[in-house]
């Protein structure tokens, strides 16, 4: 069904409630008579738990119980928990594998009492050797995090794999890539590193579970994939699927998190165990350090071109620290699709990508906005600049020679009818060269000044991402009061404006005033399955589903409720490019990096809500800037040292670069609304664009994020210190030496 009327873009459906404090988030819903849960968390990375002494906690008035793994096992059996790989206990059984792992839970009548009492629970450990380095973890003699990880339900490894392999993924042809690299005129091999990070949502996770008559449980809380949380909880607790109901709640941001760590299932278990409602609310620091951080990476890139700078082959070998459990990763491969797709943007004769994720005794690593892509693209797009320098061509020329164009076959063998790499790159470059316009950012044309005496540099980076055809979802449309229409949908508003898109699409499809359409998230008991928010599937799937719903509503006369369930689309995917140009200034005295501006060119098809669309691009670029320059959980010595938002610095309104966005319009998208996904695009190339700009400004190549003043200072000043030694040393081996090494077949990095 096509649109009956032009789409009217009004205020967001959720705007007024959010602006007056009326929106009820998970933590704003009090459950009458609920017990409050506080988790006793491990203080060590790896240990046997010899004893848990709860006597002091139990002596506090208001404490009703201290629950351990034994108590839960007696009630629910010994099933492990996980989204795909089920390898994580709700509470540690005899052994802890990361600092922050839950060992016991205090239940009390108030949150304050529960937290105070949790601090009094004494755990006796026998410490085991920690496994803190992902590369070392894959060595044959490394201490084992899990005895037999291949035995876990959903495991993607087998006994012949290295002992701590969590997931391995291979794409491409190793023999071919080495053959082509062997005859390339120029080859560089470089290794890049990124730290672990926090998704950065400002709403800590919170759940309230209530037992239901007949042995079921209702769960209300932060859940971006309610149906999958239902499945995870039912499986782990041995319940029928319909015995678990996940209730609706808006999300205060997720950025890849909030998909289903073990804690919500633990909350459900506690409510059933205590036969009372139980509320488990995490503090911000707990959420940052003990749920599902972004994977730190070590990525080796080997890339070659011919004499005129045309790319020939790309070989990427990445090792990620997966933390103690694979449980929090949502896809069957338990890997990162940003890695699988990282060779997409350029014409290549051959490529090979290997992505290995290792178990370590650190916080489990999960997904964050375009999982794996920021790490991979930082490495590849930095390496392309290094290759350009070796080949004596400009970084822009190198990219232009090989970026995918319409009709090209990509490295994976797919032929793209539309691929607008050059157009997108050129749009970003043109905007970068133009003078700032007053309307670029805010009303006064705010732009960061470059302090005098600082060194200036400009860098560019590209990212290509497919938009998949519509995925499965479900919707219901029912007549409401006063001639209103009520649309029920199965997933939360996370902030993107998805519920507003539904209202506006439906109103346009039926030719009614959007004000007449009410949009409501409903519980998992009310609609058929939906995979939840993620992987940039929402707008594509929703717009397709809304038109189907409107068609069915019109056919049925529009008097009774209509429910639809959509299948996955079969049309080919669309390709989006994102090109960014970053301008930086670097203080030669202190090493401080000031990002003056980031221009983003985004390859788009139809734009449904222009302001919401732009915010995805702006917010992404700012997140990319944070990844490049600020954010680091500082994992070391088996602990997370950035335990709060003062230590883990998110960009403020004052920190952010001047942003300019150029839309490369007229593209062909997917689905009936003709859209290309935008949510996981602009956060990806930013770090490489900034690192490339810093390289131009300083003459030094930084291969490790974030680009802190300290890191840059030591590289510039060459004082003793590991950082300086590493950066300067690599730099000293510039072109001649390194390339000779390459041609001799030298191997380095994660072999």
């Amino acid at each position: 069904m096509t649109l009956a009327w032009p789409r009217v873009v009004g205020p967001r459906v959720d705007a007024r409630d959010k602006a007056t404090g009326a929106t009820r988030y998970s933590a704003d819903v009090e459950s009458e008579g609920a017990l409050h849960a506080a988790v006793v968390r491990s203080t060590v990375p790896h240990a046997e738990v010899l004893a848990v002494d709860a006597s002091a906690a139990l002596a506090i008035r208001g404490v009703t119980a201290v629950v351990t793994a034994r108590d839960l096992e007696r009630r629910f059996g010994d099933e492990l928990c996980g989204r795909r790989v089920r390898d994580m206990p709700l509470l540690a059984r005899d052994k802890v594998r990361f600092p922050g792992e839950g060992i016991a839970v205090v239940l009390a009548t108030t949150r304050r009492v529960a937290e105070d009492a949790a601090a009094l629970v004494v755990v006796e450990y026998r410490e085991l050797p920690p496994v803190l380095d992902a590369l070392g973890a894959l060595e044959p003699d490394a201490p084992r995090v899990h005895e037999s990880p291949w035995r876990y339900d959903g495991a993607v490894v087998d006994p012949s794999d290295p002992p701590n392999l969590q997931s391995g993924l291979v794409e491409g042809d190793l023999v071919a890539v080495d053959e082509v690299l062997g005859r390339a005129a120029h080859v560089v091999t470089r290794t890049y590193r990124t730290p672990s990070g926090y998704q950065g949502y400002l709403e800590p996770q919170c759940w309230t579970a209530s037992p239901r008559p007949g042995g079921g449980v209702a769960l209300l809380g932060t859940a971006k994939a309610p149906y999958r949380l239902r499945e995870q909880t039912a499986k782990t607790l041995g319940l029928a699927l319909d015995a678990v109901e996940v209730e609706p709640a808006p999300l205060g941001g997720d950025f890849g998190g909030k998909g289903g760590v073990v804690d919500p299932t633990l909350c459900a278990a506690l409510a059933l165990w205590a036969n009372r409602p139980v509320r488990l609310a995490l503090r911000a620091g707990e959420d940052m350090t003990a749920t599902d951080a972004r994977h730190p990476s070590v990525v080796e890139v080997r890339v070659g071109c011919d004499a005129d700078g045309t790319l020939l082959a790309l070989r990427v070998d990445a090792v990620f620290d997966g933390g103690a459990y694979a449980a929090v990763k949502p896809i069957p491969s338990a890997n990162l699709h940003g890695m699988a797709e990282c060779a997409l943007g350029y014409r290549l004769e051959a490529f090979f990508v290997r992505s290995r994720i290792a178990y370590t005794t650190t916080v489990p690593k999960g997904h964050m906005r375009a999982p794996g892509a920021p790490q991979a693209v930082f490495a590849i797009e930095s390496a392309l600049d290094e290759l350009a320098s070796a080949a004596g061509v400009s970084p822009v020329v190198l990219r232009r020679r090989s970026v995918l164009a319409g009709g090209d076959r990509d490295a994976y063998g797919h032929v793209w009818d539309e691929a607008r790499g050059t157009e997108t790159l050129d749009a970003a470059l043109a905007a970068g060269d133009a003078a700032p316009r007053p309307k670029d950012r805010g009303r006064s044309g705010w732009r960061r000044p470059a302090p005098s005496g600082w060194r200036r540099g400009r860098g560019v980076a590209l990212y290509a991402r497919p938009t998949a055809p519509p995925a499965t979802t479900s919707l219901r449309l029912a007549p409401g009061d006063d001639g209103r229409l009520v649309v029920e949908l199965p997933f939360p508003e996370t902030g993107t404006g998805s519920h507003s898109v539904v209202r506006e699409e439906l109103a346009a499809s039926l030719g009614v005033d959007p004000e007449r359409v009410e949009v409501r998230q409903v519980s998992t008991a009310s609609l058929p399955y939906d995979p939840g928010v993620g992987a940039s599937r929402v707008t594509v799937g929703l717009t397709a589903a809304v038109r189907q719903l409107a068609g069915r509503w019109s056919e049925s006369g529009g008097t009774e409720a209509v429910t639809i369930e959509t299948g996955s689309g079969t049309e080919p995917p669309a390709l989006s490019f994102c090109a960014q140009v970053a301008d930086v200034a670097v203080d030669p005295e202190t090493g401080q990096v000031l990002v003056l501006g980031v221009v983003t060119a985004a390859d788009v098809a139809s734009v449904l809500r222009p302001r919401s669309h732009r915010m995805q691009i702006d917010g992404g670029a700012v997140m990319g800037y944070g990844f490049a320059c600020l954010e680091d959980l500082l994992e070391g010595d088996g602990q997370v040292w950035a335990t709060n938002l003062a230590e883990f610095r998110l960009p403020t309104a004052q920190d952010v670069p001047s942003l300019r966005t150029v839309l490369v319009e007229g593209g062909r998208g997917v689905g009936p609304a003709n859209v290309k996904a935008v949510g996981e695009l602009s956060n990806v190339p930013t770090a490489a664009a900034i690192a490339n700009a810093v390289a131009e400004a300083t003459g030094r190549r930084f291969r490790q994020l974030p680009l802190t003043a300290e890191r840059v200072f030591w590289a510039l000043h060459g004082e003793a210190g590991e950082e300086a030694g590493e950066e300067a040393g690599e730099e000293a081996g510039e072109e001649a030496g390194e390339e000779a090494g390459e041609e001799a077949g030298e191997e380095e990095g994660p072999a």
């Binding site: 941001g253 911000a284 950012r441 996370t494 709060n644 998110l650 309104a653």
Partner: protein, 154 residues
């Protein structure tokens, strides 16, 4: 201890532990528009006005608010309607969790905050992870212009 104050223009009396934060007391009284974020005074999502000054209510001892005039986001439609309208119309939000703090902070801006640099400096204690800040800055500038009477309220 007994806390006597005014909240959003109405008398407010509550029996509170002496160590309670103002955030806990407000939320405990059902004013859940004010959110708990970092709990160390960094993120700004718990911002409320105490005697016209924006404070991080997570760090503010409730006892120190004795006899104070407290305003939360729930009172903004009455005290600063142009700010609320500006955030709605400029779409100065996505997930909305920082929005109460942003709106309260903007409501406390003096007339001297007139340009983008000033707004960004003033709001640097209110984090937002979603928007990239562009539409929040737009909303703040819009609200300031409305207060100066440069934009007719809609």
């Amino acid at each position: 201890m007994k806390l006597h104050a005014r909240v959003n223009g109405s008398p407010f009396v509550a029996e509170v532990p002496a160590t309670s934060s103002l955030l806990e007391v407000l939320r405990g009284a059902g004013l859940t528009g004010t959110k708990e974020g970092c709990r160390i005074g960094v993120c700004g999502v718990c911002t409320v006005l105490v005697d016209d000054r924006p404070v991080s209510s997570c760090l503010y001892l409730a006892g120190c608010a004795s006899e104070a005039d407290i305003w939360t986001v729930e009172g903004m439609a009455e005290r600063a309607p142009s700010v609320v309208d500006a955030f709605v119309e400029c779409e100065g939000m996505q997930c909305g969790i920082c929005t109460p703090g942003q709106i309260v902070a903007v409501a406390s801006m003096g007339p001297d905050v007139r340009d983008e640099n000033g707004v960004r400096r003033y709001l640097s204690g209110n984090l937002c992870r979603c928007t990239g800040y562009g539409t929040i800055v737009d909303a703040a500038l819009d609200a300031q212009a409305r207060r100066r009477g440069e934009v007719a309220p809609t």
